[in-house]
């Protein structure tokens, strides 16, 4: 495999970042967009070339060492890239979807004064994300991990003149730091336990450990804390909905398709360790299932088009973790891929709607857009169909595979997943119907401006729609007459895990008829939910109540997102603020004591000494005489 080609993959976005970043006030908009998109496209081309070279080379994982980076005592951390099935899949998603979103951004951000800056940030993000998935050890992954966090912060707060957006950016950054700490501690524990951070070496040593090893349990839990932060799982999910403050392409690229799946990538990458820690897997599965249901329920009542999608993302990420927890690693990866397609499409479609609606995001003021925005409508509908898990689109295959594994593992988790799936279907169809059907509810001015987006925005939509429609066919299960090419492709990744814990890797024990029933149930549930949404929002043409209307009981609690933000504010933010205020006053007290105290002491002593200088000559003379007497007394009598 040509190494230069491999290096080009992350290097091109970095070059794009440098050009646009250094010269963003001088490069004209057309050139900046072209440079940014070409960097992404070039990276995509290089990834495809590497993929083919990899397949030709017999699909052998390989580590390409670029240079020695850290060498301290026994520990040696090279700067090297690892190419295997997992990193290739991630490469294809990141560069492929990334390129489309770059092209889309040319149209979407056309009138923004920070156009060049936006593209340089996007390219920087791609660079770090590629570093994250290409690195051959945990430390390089950590560089990428932190880098994408930084870019996420920069892009959420891209319109930095709005204080709320800046607060959202800070919230995302700080919540991610909580997770990052766990990740970092996990890396330290790996160093301590294995003496290296290279994947191949760590996993080779790990295969010798017994199942349920305590150290591995601690490592996997800490790594999972990192994944919770980055992939927005309970309890660290609240930053993701707020992250919608950023421009919509950012939401599509970072907060739906790529960055938030870094946690899933990391767990799949460490599958050997996780397979050795069944307790952690239980926790992962429960957290995933609860997140899937919880976020979906919040999504039911949201009225901001992007907020609905954000909660949907959190919920879908929950499904992926549920899949990981029941050891359906390849099914989770499958869902990562299909989710990248349809969720990016949904966000870009939402962006197209927002663009047409003159920056209106509230679905209560939309409606009837299907005639004015036909391409956006059709692609959005395909994505909705896909995410709702209805055949034959992508979401059906991946979600059903996860649910089937969950069913096999634990019926309760499957039930939670199924309920979440019904909710997903409901809120997505609700979104679709409220946005594109019925009559227009906005202002006449907005109605006048309604227009389909330019080609640079619709072409990515169409490509993503095709992918969302057909993407599922890379993993058609045997029950439906397929061979599940994806699982086959990824199978070598789990060889080490199979060797370490053979019992955990049973073949899917469900018979085909059971699988048919499961599929039927989940499709049926999704269909019913869709029909309910149809009846509510099209037949009865109900519109969600305006903000001012009082809500009662459960509806109120769900509408306010279970008051989780308020809870965190009371439990963490306010005590922290009180503590800092306390510490500040305490610190100031000490500074006053020492700094000002010294001054005051000198001044006081001086004042005391000043008293002796009365200015009266008689007094001086008297003092002199007394002094002489004392000296004489001392010299003549005491000596």
């Amino acid at each position: 495999m040509p190494i230069t080609l491999l290096i080009l993959i992350p290097l091109l976005p970095l070059i794009g970042f440098l050009i646009n970043g250094i010269g963003f006030r001088h490069i004209p908009k057309g050139a900046a967009g072209l440079i940014g998109s070409l960097a992404a496209l070039g990276s995509f081309a290089a990834s495809v070339a590497v993929l083919f070279a990899f397949k030709e080379g017999g699909s052998q994982p390989m580590v390409v060492s670029l240079f020695d980076w850290i060498r301290v005592g026994e520990l040696n951390i090279p700067f090297s890239f690892q190419i295997d099935q997992l990193s290739l899949l991630m490469l294809m998603i990141i560069t492929g979807v990334g390129s489309l979103i770059h092209i889309y951004s040319i149209g979407y951000m056309k009138h923004d004064p920070g156009f060049g800056k936006f593209f340089s940030f996007l390219n920087l993000f791609l660079f770090f994300m590629l570093l994250l998935v290409l690195g051959s050890n945990y430390v390089i992954m950590f560089i990428g991990w932190e880098g994408v966090g930084l870019c996420s912060y920069l892009l959420i707060g891209f319109w930095n003149k709005n204080t709320d957006f800046n607060n959202a950016a800070r919230k995302a950054f700080i919540m991610n730091r909580v997770g990052d700490l766990g990740f970092l501690l996990g890396i330290f524990m790996i160093m301590n336990a294995f003496g290296t951070v290279e994947y191949t070496e760590v996993f080779r040593q790990a295969t010798g450990l017994p199942v349920g090893d305590h150290v591995v349990f601690a490592i996997t839990m800490l790594l999972f804390v990192g994944a919770m932060g980055k992939s927005a799982q309970i309890p660290l999910y609240t930053w993701l909905p707020d992250a919608m403050a950023g421009p919509t392409p950012v939401s599509a690229l970072i907060h739906a398709a790529t960055m938030v799946t870094a946690g899933i990538y990391m767990v799949i990458r460490s599958n050997v360790l996780y397979t050795l820690a069944p307790q952690t897997l239980e926790i992962v599965a429960v957290v995933g299932a609860v997140t899937a249901l919880f976020a979906a329920s919040i999504g039911l009542l949201q009225n901001d088009i992007k907020k609905v999608l954000a909660y949907s993302t959190v919920s879908q990420l929950g499904y992926m973790f549920l899949g990981l927890g029941v050891m359906a690693y390849s099914a989770s990866m499958f869902h990562v891929i299909t989710h990248a397609f349809f969720k990016a499409l949904l966000f870009l479609g939402a962006g197209s709607v927002i663009h047409a609606m003159s920056d209106e995001q509230d679905i209560r003021f939309m409606g009837g857009l299907r005639k004015k925005l036909p391409i956006t409508f059709i692609t959005f509908a395909i994505a909705t169909w896909a995410i709702a898990g209805l055949p034959p689109f992508a979401g059906f295959f991946s979600k059903d595979e996860i649910l089937a594994h969950a069913f096999e593992h634990n019926k309760l988790l499957w039930g939670i997943g199924l309920l979440g799936s019904a909710m997903t279907s409901f809120y997505m169809f609700r979104l679709l119907f409220l946005t594109f059907f019925g009559s227009f509810r906005g202002t006449p001015e907005q109605a006048h401006h309604l227009h389909e987006s330019p080609a640079s925005m619709t072409i990515p939509l169409i490509i993503l729609a095709i992918l969302s429609a057909l993407g599922g066919f890379i993993g058609v299960p045997e029950a439906l007459g397929g061979t599940h090419q994806l699982a086959e492709f990824m199978s070598p990744l789990f060889d080490a895990a199979r060797q370490a814990n053979p019992e955990a890797f049973g073949v899917l024990a469900l018979s085909h008829s059971e699988e048919y029933i499961l599929m039927g149930v989940s499709v049926g549930v999704a269909l019913i939910a869709g029909v309910v949404a149809y009846v509510m929002y099209i037949s009865k043409s109900a519109v969600p109540a305006p903000e001012s209307e009082a809500r009662t009981g459960v509806e109120n609690v769900v509408y306010h997102k279970y008051y989780i933000d308020e809870l965190y504010d009371t439990v963490f933010v306010k005590p922290m603020k009180t503590l800092s205020v306390l510490l500040v006053s305490f610190g100031e007290f000490f500074i006053d004591l020492f700094v000002e105290g010294t001054g005051k002491l000198v001044k006081g002593l001086a004042n005391l000494g000043r008293q002796t200088q009365t200015g009266s000559i008689a007094y001086y003379v008297f003092a002199m005489v007394v002094g002489i007497v004392v000296i004489l007394f001392w010299n003549l009598l005491l000596k």
């Binding site: 002796t612 200088q613 200015g615 009266s616 008689a618 003379v621 008297f622 005489v625």
Partner: protein
Amino acid sequence: MQEPSIPDIVQLIPLKSYLILSTALFVIGILGVLIRRNAIVIFMSVELMLNSVNLILIAFSSYKSDPSGQVFVFFIMAVAAAEVAVGLAIIVMIYRNTRTIDVGFLNKLKG
């Protein structure tokens, strides 16, 4: 070494008397300096103290037949004359500026 002879006339008055006289003069001088507020009187008291010291130097010089004490006294008188010139000039200047020579009012040195 032969003990130097002391003239009889000197021995008419015992050394002790000189000491008492000189001490009395010195104490009068000190009290004058401490108690009086008139700058000129204080000045005179200082002179008195100087002269009491001169007296004692001469007395010892005579009784010891050692002339160096008397040499000292001449020096002291010369220096005192110069000092009087300077000191009186200062007092005159003080008077011109403040219209008083009461040292109680001269408290500009107050810290």
